[in-house]
């Protein structure tokens, strides 16, 4: 159902090696190693508590992995960055955007303001001039508004534009969070269970949006998702985590045939 453009030369966007994040005695993820290529939709699956979100948090600088890990990111200009030890807001400005499993929107702000905050890294006004409303600052604001309006159209949320986010339904908020990440125009997009907690129709919308984004913008994505049907149909490659361990990596077909995966995870799920 999705047209996948295969890229001739696989340019890596994200390369992580031996990423172990430990909370006290618990290794939330252990020696996780994979790479995501440019334009790829790479999925991460595994039961609850497997360490999926932890991997995203390690990539975005929220948690620091144990020594010996590598997290390298290649930005849209082809520059390679070692993300280890960088602060979350610095990593974001390299071109990595994320959504949160449990939503992290600014509930008291409007939809528009939430999206405008997504434009922050692309705005070139400083702390002091950001406080004024004329000249450069005004022009910049108008430019950012344009991008935001396009996203509003794409995600079909224009009727909520000026509403406070806290008032909106869960489905719309999930969509808005995707929109806010898109407003960042990331080179790599990390989506943590974007369809969780939604009804069928909303899930289908979300799949459609993700597909649109890929076809229109070609954004590289790391997707965490529970719905196997969705994952198998849209992901090009999949990594499977179980209790922090990688138990399989490969194309959907390979994963479905991986005995470890089947016994540890897929076997317990119905409908695969």
């Amino acid at each position: 159902m999705v047209a996948v453009t295969t890229i001739g030369v696989a340019n890596p966007v994200l390369e992580i090696e031996n990423v172990t994040v430990q909370f006290g005695g618990l290794k939330a993820c252990n020696d996780v190693t994979f790479r995501i290529n440019e334009g790829e939709l790479f999925a991460m699956i595994g039961p609850n508590g497997a360490g999926k979100t932890t991997v995203i948090n390690a990539i975005t600088g929220v948690y620091s992995p144990n020594p010996g890990a590598t997290i390298d990111f290649t930005d849209s200009g082809g520059n390679r960055h070692d993300l280890l030890g960088q602060r979350p807001h610095d990593i974001v400005s390299r071109g990595i955007a994320r959504t949160f499993q449990n939503l992290a929107l600014f509930d008291a702000l409007t939809v528009l303001d939430n999206l405008m905050l997504g434009r922050y890294i692309h705005s070139d006004v400083g702390v002091l001039s950001g406080g004024v409303f004329w000249g450069k600052a005004l022009k910049d604001e108008l430019r950012q508004r344009e991008v935001v309006e396009r996203i509003i159209d794409l995600l079909e949320i224009s009727q909520y534009r000026n509403e406070a986010v806290g008032e909106l339904s869960y489905g719309v908020r999930k969509r808005l969070e995707l929109g806010r990440a898109l407003a960042q125009e990331p080179h790599l997009l990390l989506l943590d269970e974007p369809m969780a907690g939604q009804n069928l129709e909303e899930k289908q919308d979300m799949v459609r949006f993700i597909a649109d984004v890929r076809s229109e913008l070609g954004t590289t994505m790391l997707l965490i998702e529970h719905d196997m049907g969705v994952v198998m149909s849209i992901a090009e490659r999949i990594v499977v985590l179980n209790f922090g361990q990688m138990i399989g990596i490969g194309t959907p077909e390979e994963i479905q045939q991986n005995p470890d995966v089947v016994s540890a995870y897929l076997g317990t799920e119905s409908g695969v």
């Binding site: 929220v62 610095d90 994320r98 949160f100 929107l105 008291a108 006004v125 004024v132 600052a137």
Partner: protein, 291 residues
């Protein structure tokens, strides 16, 4: 009735200063989660600097306000980078103790620089008064109210409709999400400390023209930011403004009708009453914790 109006008028002038002070206090708390116990000292610093600028050097008051605002704001930013930033993640209590330490240092600095003797009211504003029937409103009170209102309105516009204001609100609401937008919390913290200190400093300049005595007890005015902020809601900008006015007016009324000793009682008494009825203040959010 005359007495009532007279006291209310004076209370509004005083309350507008409290509003400014509470606003700065709330802003710092809202953005950085720090209860700044040096806030009153920022105000006091503003008043003492006003003595130097206005009384000793006889400078223009507008210039003095701008210059002092700048100095105090710079101090706020410096404090953030120098002292508060390395403390991120420390328990609330230790951070609060550090702000008390800052307060002590500012006091000591003022004591060494200006000596222990009380100084009189600064007479840099037009003196005289407006007579409306039996009501006497000193010009100073009117100007005080106007300047405080202007400061509050400018801040409000800044906070609500500029990019940096938006970032401040974002950081205040959800630090993690703000960082995920690429907003550097530290920059926003620094700006919050700067503006918080600035509000206190400007309040201090104005207050120096209002109060009859400038001495090291002025920091107590900063303590009024607590009941004002608690009444309004510790994390609400609107609440700080309202709370400041409520405390100012009720304080003058209580002192006028029941005696000066009720002045301190009423601010905190009112706070307890409000907190019993509305534990989060008039405008505060129930959920003071951040995700």
């Amino acid at each position: 009735m005359d007495t009532f109006l007279q006291l209310t008028a004076s209370g509004i002038a005083l309350g507008s200063v409290y509003a400014m002070v509470a606003l700065g206090f709330v802003l710092v708390f809202k953005s950085t989660d720090v209860l700044n116990f040096a806030h009153g000292e920022f105000l006091m610093l503003g008043s003492f600097l006003a003595l130097t600028f206005l009384v000793e050097w006889n400078l223009n008051i507008v210039f003095a306000i701008v210059a002092i605002a700048f100095i105090v704001a710079a101090l706020g930013v410096a404090l953030h980078y120098g002292i508060m930033k390395p403390l991120v993640g420390q328990p609330l209590f230790s951070v609060v103790l550090v702000t008390i330490g800052i307060a002590i240092v500012i006091r000591a600095f003022l004591l060494m620089t200006y000596g222990p003797l009380e100084r009189g009211r600064i007479l840099a504003l037009p003196q005289g008064q407006l007579d409306i029937g039996n009501l006497v409103i000193p010009y100073v009170d009117i100007i005080l109210f106007l300047v405080s209102s202007a400061a509050v309105v400018i801040f409000y516009i800044f906070f609500k409709s500029t990019t940096i204001g938006l970032q401040m609100r974002a950081v205040a609401e959800n630090l993690e999400a703000a960082a995920a937008m690429g907003v550097s919390p530290n920059k926003v913290f620094a700006v919050s400390w700067g503006i918080g200190a600035l509000m206190a400093g400007v309040a201090g300049v104005m207050y120096g023209n209002f109060t009859a005595v400038i001495d090291l007890n002025l920091a107590a005015i900063g303590l009024r930011a607590f009941p004002a902020a608690m009444i309004g809601g510790l994390d609400s900008v609107e609440g700080a403004i309202l709370g400041g006015l409520i405390v100012g007016v009720s304080e003058q009324l209580a002192a006028g009708y029941f005696g000066g000793d009720f002045r301190d009682v009423v601010a905190f008494g009112l706070m307890f009453v409000v907190l019993m009825v509305r534990p989060y203040g008039f405008f505060g959010t129930k959920d003071l914790i951040r995700v």
